[in-house]
Amino acid sequence: MSEKKRLDLEYSQLDSDRMRINVGPQHPSTHGVLRLEVEVDGEIVTEVVPHLGYLHRSFEKHCESMTYQQIIPYIDRMDYISAMNSEWPYVMALEKMLDIKVPEKVEYLRVIVAELNRIANHQIAVATFGLDAGAFTPFLFYFRDREFIIWILEKLSGARLLYNYFRVGGMAADIYNGFREDCLSVIEKVRKTNAEVMDLLIYNRIFIQRTANVGILTPDVAINYACSGPVLRGSGVAYDLRRNEPYSIYDRFDFDIPVGKGEVGVVGDCWNRNMVRMHEMEQSCRIIEQALEQMPMEGDVKANVPRRIKVPKSEVYMRAENPKGEVGFYVVGNGTDKPERLKARGASFVNLSVIPEISKGYMFADLILILGSIDIVLGEVDR
């Protein structure tokens, strides 16, 4: 702090144009209640300091006074855009602790709902990224299609956004009649819109000029900051937990790990990060198609688990690949039905920490795009 103050003094003595401005917490482009303290030299950004805590909802402390099943809805409210994906590692952690084997049908159902939610998350990510760049039409296209995905998840779980669908050793409810047809028709819609958006937004000349060569994140910086998800893969590192450390049944599917190739701009810039999301939607469609084919339609969706879960004195860390990156839960049990400690690793929080590194030297308007390309959710950053 003291160093920063001295810097301010020097600038004022030099009578230079450097200025400190606030972006947020109320700002249409900060994707929530993030506050950025930005130092600008004219239009050039020289320093960015993110300030957090505007949505701190005391998740970890809260969990210590909840039973294990009661925690699941609060996990939904962490990363509220991809709630299904966030529930998964927590449920897996408990199943590992209690040594529960879940039925085959449940594993496939989990893959399908998680990948559907991944598509919905990337649709919002690309849509709001386009919105930051000034393109409103992809936003309308993607929200039109996202609604069909939400209808499927609503029919399954009963909720539109925060599902509370995963249970320890199973799912809350079975699939409904016509689930397979619904999924297939949604995949068709997603592919059609993606092709349209490719022309409309991604390969649009104006969009390329705004986003290519902006906010370049080199692979070594990305790895040093422990980035994950599309942010890491946009820098050309093919690291995906579904492939590198296959959990559940992901080793049974045939899918690619899309990475930024630099066909436009440089590897690791905003355009490539965004492109990874576009390709990942296609890969999710492929996984859903395969899962629907292999999924046994008969059978129960609940393993034999007691109503009141008591976890022995043990600790476990389970992680999974979320749309935004790697999400992990570190659960410490103490022999009762409440956890001793629960630590969550949020992908958005880690990815956000790279902002000061990659936004120096770019124009102020580019800072908004860089923030949009990282795709953060403040519920997960502040928890």
């Binding site: 505007y54 005391s58 809260h62 006074s65 939400i150 956004l161």
Partner: protein, 171 residues
Amino acid sequence: MGLLNRLDDPYEGGGIVLGKVEELLNWGRSKSDWYLHFGLACCAIEFMAMNASHFDFMRFGTIPRTSPRQADFIMITGTVTFKMADRIKVLYEQMAEPKYVISVGSCSNSGGPYWEHGYHVLKGVDRIIPVDVYIPGCPPRPEAFEEGMMKLQEKINQQAIFNKRKRLGIE
């Protein structure tokens, strides 16, 4: 819905509506509310869906404004933490009269799921600013947003503009 329907009942050849000026003003005000675009948490995602193709919030005559000085009402969409509470109060104070508040979701209505153990969550936004319409749900469905907006329009339509103090019996 009020004023223009009376044209169906023609008075001396038609094209004439008899009514109070107040009704006309309220009719105009309730059909062109601009709101402060301000997402806090999960409910903001449902609000984005509300703004998009399927539900089309703008048919209520609402336009998102990014400055509180141009806004007629503010939607508190999400959890209000202690750190955020000061800012929300400042935003509300910056809005020009007449101004309205819609509280969206359990969190801003009462603290919601964080009511019992959330040490950093304000237990209801009505503890810092006056709320006109509460929309329940966690998060509310887009249909609930529509209902809330209609309730706000109803409220504006019934409001007194002239001789307010006298009618309310303050003087």
